[in-house]
């Protein structure tokens, strides 16, 4: 079975084509379309990805203008009926501003745009973005953002509901302050909704899915996209 995914393009998206490339040329059993945000119709797709970039120039706050796009109304239908709705980096910011996911992403505590490879520890492996991983796996993946400091005033609820999917860690899996690149609360890098079909996270799997792009020749990024395919297959079977 081939699953059909839409990658939404906003004015200012810039990881959209990288994501399309990985989905169509690297990942199996998937066909992805690049869809302009005003034209997106959910009925044609099994899942949707909001890619990285600077939608609407990050004006007012990263993600807030895009959160009012018609594409988000369409994505809400998918959210409600259990199809995967995934936000990468700027896409994660959009998902929190649209209130698909709790909390917010604030300016990095260093005030710097940070672009580097980090280690990501898997905390929940039953979501639409992590079901091909094992709990406590440590994955090599790059980040590239200025507003990635996750903040919530309801951490306890997130922990109790197992909504924390990924945390920044050392290569050995320790959740230290040094391993936290942006000052995120409790090293949080990615979270999900209660139903686990909506996941947002800051790192860029589309930049870590081919050995030629990885400093240690790892392709951990592909696991995220394989998980989306698997989630859809399990859902329809």
């Amino acid at each position: 079975m081939t699953v059909k995914i839409a990658v939404i393009q906003f004015a200012g998206s810039n990881c959209d084509l990288d994501t399309i490339h990985i989905l169509n040329n690297v990942v199996d059993d998937i066909e992805a379309d690049l869809v302009w945000h005003n034209l997106f119709k959910e009925t044609k797709y099994d899942g949707v990805i909001l890619p990285g970039g600077f939608a609407f120039g990050d004006y007012l706050r990263a993600g807030i203008i895009a959160a009012h796009s018609p594409a988000i109304d369409e994505a809400r239908v998918m959210l409600d009926d259990g199809r995967p709705v995934i936000g990468i980096c700027n896409g994660f910011q959009i998902l929190t501003e649209a209130q698909f996911l709790p909390g917010a992403l604030l300016r990095n505590d260093s005030l710097k745009f940070i672009c580097k490879w980090v280690n990501l520890k898997v905390e929940n492996n039953s979501t639409a973005l992590s079901n091909k991983m094992n709990i406590n796996d440590v994955l090599a993946i790059p980040i590239a953002h200025a507003e990635g400091r996750y903040y919530t005033d309801n951490l306890k609820e997130l922990e109790e509901n197992n909504q924390i999917v990924f945390r920044y860690s050392t290569e050995q899996g320790y959740l230290t302050k040094d391993a936290n690149p942006n000052g995120s609360l409790e090293n949080i890098a990615g979270i999900c909704n209660l139903e686990q079909n909506c996941v947002g996270f800051m790192p860029h799997p589309e930049r870590a899915s081919e050995a030629i792009l990885s400093p240690k020749k790892t392709i951990h990024g592909k696991l995220f996209f394989d998980s989306i395919v698997e989630f859809i297959k399990r859902r329809v079977s």
Binding site: I64, H68, E97, A104, L106, R107, L111, Y151, G183
Partner: protein, 89 residues
């Protein structure tokens, strides 16, 4: 009813619990280093000047409040909205 033009000035600030590294940097790395050690706290935020038509100042203020809440002009998870001033423009 005659509608008049008003100017509403608002600020969006991080809540006290959410760190504000911009304000911290201005205080620590600029003011304190240049001898203004009497300054012990700076908080940064965003300022918006909104011009609109309304029946009176009260209505202008209410429209701005509703607009900011409904469209999440401020993020209630991390920010507070303050209406600084409403005046005829």
């Amino acid at each position: 009813m005659d509608r008049q033009e008003f100017q509403v000035e608002i600020t969006l600030m991080n809540k006290p619990a959410a760190r504000d590294p911009v304000g911290e940097t201005i205080q620590k790395d600029l003011l304190a280093k240049k001898g203004y050690d009497i300054v012990f706290n700076v908080r940064s935020g965003q300022f918006l000047q909104i011009n609109l038509k309304a029946a009176d100042e009260n209505e202008a203020k209410k429209i701005v409040e509703k607009m900011c809440n409904d469209l999440r002009i401020f993020n209630p998870v991390t920010q507070n909205l303050t209406i600084l001033k409403v005046s005829k423009s």
